[in-house]
Symmetry: C2
Subunit: 283 residues, 2 copies
Amino acid sequence: MKSYLDCIPCFFEQALRAGRIATDDEQLQKRVLDELGAILSDISLESTPPKTGELIYRMVREITGNPDPYRELKHENTRQALARYPSLKRTIEKSNDSLLTAIRIAIAGNVIDFGPNATFDIDTAIKESLEMDFAICDYSAFKNYLAKAEQILYIGDNAGETVFDRLLIEQMNKPVTYIVREKPVINDATAEDAVQAGIDKVATIVSSGTEAPGTILSTCSLEFREMLDSAEFVVAKGQGNYEGLSNEDHSIFFLLKAKCQIIANDLGVTKGDIVLKWINIET
Amino acid sequence: MKSYLDCIPCFFEQALRAGRIATDDEQLQKRVLDELGAILSDISLESTPPKTGELIYRMVREITGNPDPYRELKHENTRQALARYPSLKRTIEKSNDSLLTAIRIAIAGNVIDFGPNATFDIDTAIKESLEMDFAICDYSAFKNYLAKAEQILYIGDNAGETVFDRLLIEQMNKPVTYIVREKPVINDATAEDAVQAGIDKVATIVSSGTEAPGTILSTCSLEFREMLDSAEFVVAKGQGNYEGLSNEDHSIFFLLKAKCQIIANDLGVTKGDIVLKWINIET
């Protein structure tokens, strides 16, 4: 997905939010915004939002000297998600359609995101995600691919959301490679975060090589790109992965909650909607 | 009022909104944002928001070649306000406290503002403003000053809101000098807009000399500054005038609706609250 002009004020909001989490020094927070302003003319609208996100969060790290501002928040979110794991497991097991319920729960976990929004309530998100209609639901195709797949490539998104992914992975019951970010960026899941969520018990954890808050192939490792090229069945979570991969030549199932108006517009849905969208661009 | 870091993303939102109203050319809209980015490090937080607003809207005019992007919107808002004039006049006349009701209505008109917000509903604002409690209400002082004043200096804000100001001016029933902006900026009222609202029938219209979306004394004419210095009773409408004048050495009654969180914080009120605040800084 390309960037829109509306993304630009949001980039500044995100930079400010991250700057404030990284440091209490208002002058350094202002410098983050100033430096983003200084490079704004170099940011093309043809570039994807997470590509710009990579620049922003690198700036925040360098200017504030804080390599992982969201570290504590990520750990806390994962702890909170793990506390909900047993009851969500029961909800899935008792459901008439356990796979679809697990998908709904994995999407609910996608609200744990400090990028576009400052606040969220995970219990409200779970309730909504279990009850609301999908705005896009390519579930039949998902089931067909799952039935045939011998391996699943599952591209994770945020720390804490990882616990909800684990529930879906357990329900899919096939060998899974779980993709994480190479380095900390916002609250995106790294290998450390995935292990805290217990993903290592249900999947092989591999880094995509990127430090962008999304999957930008040009910044990913050759290993990951080869994995993606040869994967039979790819599941990608969240906005950042959608933004980075929606125009790439791959068959991918995107699971996300449309948390910003721009992505909602791009998908043709309403902000707040839940989405299971299959994009299959023939190479 | 100084600027806050939170104002910076909002400056970009405002620049984008104004750019879109001024031109359909997305490249020019992007250039407005780029040029704002380029000067961001020169914008001090010690500067007031309307001082930066002046820079932004000048940029929009210069880059898009549109000298008055909000012209049609201003005329339409004034027409809509004039259509409500007769019934609002009756509401004031029938009220137990006609002066306070006229103040409430003048504050309701303050929602007609394309600066911090993109949308508003004037009828909802009137209803709310007639019914809700004031968050700050220095009404006794207002009445005392009004009773003693031989002249009133009334600093207007937006086009359309002018009609609501006219109702208050008629109710105050003293000689009034009504201050407008020198040149078009956002939807702020110029002399032309004040005349369309019929202010010329109830007051003497004088420009402050500024083209900022607020009253920044350093950008105002000597004539206006002398008027302000010698004024016995000053009424200033809206956020832009509050932002520009709240730290100046004058006795001023501010009438406004707190439309952004930052101003609400500065005033110690809740966003959406209505305010009649007297600031009396002794020189």
